[in-house]
Symmetry: C2
Subunit: 343 residues, 2 copies
């Protein structure tokens, strides 16, 4: 059975523009909160394939999105490579012992990392078994740069002072770390696809931490290597990249991926002009528009005016916020599916 989401990722004409939301399996859904409470904490939910499968399917069943994304977190990769990881309430994820020297780096294990992530592969298999045949399943990982930044900083940061001091004073060390993370991610994404992911997405959430020249050296080059590897081994599985906040140099982006995720801060006209002929675009509705149905209508219309129903996957330009009413999320999905019909 043909999947409208996959067709759109490959540039085929579809009956309407498929739509999903980043963080669609998340805290705005009471059903998610219920399963999460049963799991105990966030990390236990990630490691429990049955429960992770259940929450991954919720937005498909409740909100009506065209694709499921496996429930997990980008930081399970450094965790399984050998780093202790804690999710501290109100503070977010913390690596209590960040990478500081070659000895720390040597302890990180590529093969073991990819193998220990079996619970993710099991989650994918479970979702695949239960997901309707016309819906797509998205796997994902963090970009090497974003993961390496967490591993160096140990936690969220406003200034990125530690990792940026490193790139300007000891770039060799940073490259050694990035290479190791990239190797692990190759195995990780390959295993996700082998387990049943139709498409994989690479989240470079901290892309905007770097100036242009540093971005290409420390992030984009590794993403290109990763997508090149996946594309050459799994040419039929579309790849989505999402480097957040780099609208100043979109024209320099290239590589063997299929879909470019446009964050809400990048005007969709600009993304179309710079990348729309080379890549399918995904995005880029401002997520806080979901607070108001009027703002949803205006936001959807604005994007449709530019993208029509051509070479586009509808999405938010960032994750849905926890206090968005479920009713508004449903309204957003239905509005997109109806307004893009027969365009």
């Amino acid at each position: 059975m043909s999947k409208i989401f996959i067709d759109a990722c490959k540039g085929k004409k579809t009956p309407y523009t498929p739509v999903w939301m980043m963080r669609q399996a998340g805290r705005y859904l009471p059903e998610y909160m219920e399963v999460r409470a049963q799991a105990g904490d966030f990390l236990s939910l990630c490691k429990d394939p049955e429960k992770a499968c259940a929450v991954s399917l919720q937005p498909v069943d409740i909100v009506g999105v065209d694709a499921a994304i496996m429930f997990s977190d980008i930081l399970v990769v450094p965790l399984e490579m050998g780093m202790e990881l804690k999710f501290v309430k109100g503070e977010g994820p913390v690596f209590p012992h960040p990478v500081t020297c070659m000895e720390d780096l040597d302890k990180l294990d590529i093969e073991k990392g990819a193998k220990n992530l079996q619970y993710v592969y099991d989650t994918i298999k479970l979702i695949r078994g239960k997901l309707a045949a016309d819906k797509a399943l998205i796997g994902f990982c963090g970009a090497p740069w974003t993961l390496a930044t967490y591993m160096i900083e140990g936690q969220g940061t406003k200034t990125y002072a530690k990792v940026k001091k490193l790139i300007y004073t000891n770039p060799e060390f940073m490259h050694a770390l990035l290479k190791k993370v990239t190797q692990t991610l190759k195995l990780y994404l390959a295993n996700q696809i082998k387990s049943g992911a139709d498409v994989v997405m690479i989240f470079d959430s901290w892309a905007a931490a770097l100036e242009e020249s540093a971005y290409f050296e420390f992030s984009w080059n590794y993403i290109k290597e990763l997508v090149g590897f996946i594309k050459s081994n799994y040419p039929d599985n579309p790849i989505i990249v999402f480097p957040k906040g780099i609208s100043g140099y979109l024209d320099k982006i290239d590589g063997d991926f299929d879909v470019f995720g446009v964050d809400w801060s990048t005007p969709i006209e600009l993304a179309k002009e710079k990348l729309g002929s080379k890549y399918i675009l995904q995005g880029n509705m401002e997520p806080t528009r979901l607070y108001s149905k009027k703002a949803i209508d205006e936001g959807v219309d604005k994007i449709i005016k530019v993208m029509k129903n051509e070479r586009h996957v509808f999405n938010l330009g960032h994750g849905i916020l926890p206090d968005v009413p479920v009713e508004n999320a449903k309204y957003f999905i239905k509005t997109v599916q109806e307004k893009t019909k027969n365009l």
Copy 2:
């Protein structure tokens, strides 16, 4: 006596490109830490003209910058309009009672706000009296949007969920707040100029929180109103604007200001292409390059290659970080002044 900094802001040819640093009167200087310790806390330092004058002059004397910027904080404006403000160690500034309703808004006082800021005007007068005649003095304020966001959110935020919910569900209220803040800022900047500021700078630190259409409606329109007012009353005083992180729509920026501050995330080539013929550009060295002299050399060369010594004021693309060695800050300033000579 002619001021090289002012000449550059007006587009005149100067013997070298003048240079200063955002947060140049700051924690990387031991001499600053000493005065701050004497003052007690951050806010007491802002309110003490003698001490604020002393730290404003330090980077001129110690680091050799071409302009002093008055030591203060953008949040003294909402404070003096009637809001309680606390600087909590490790958490940054907090308004314990953020603006939530019309009643809160009605309590804010424009005239009293501008009048209560006398300590800022006194600081400027003191600096003016002590600053060398060939150095410029920069006054500043936060942009209406950035200030209003703090006043609504109550503190720093990652998601801007409160203020963005407001703009999409109750835009009239947000506009009422923005109008009131803008009125206060008109008086505030006018008083700064009357007290001796040669140039004023408007910091829109949270510009990147908004999508393009919302940015123009809720931020840029008010900046334009503010710069229009100042320019018509004080045509000889250059105005610098610094909307951080809006590289996706630089071509839509207009208004009656003189200098556009380019943050480090915006490629300087892009800023030059979109705005360089209409405005003088300021910036945009990546501040973390100051961790390494080699990175300083490369960063300065990269910018000089684009800007030569024409229609440009050198600066960091964001504030200097507290752990930058003073020696490196001096090296940056000297490098710019020497490399741009006779270009």
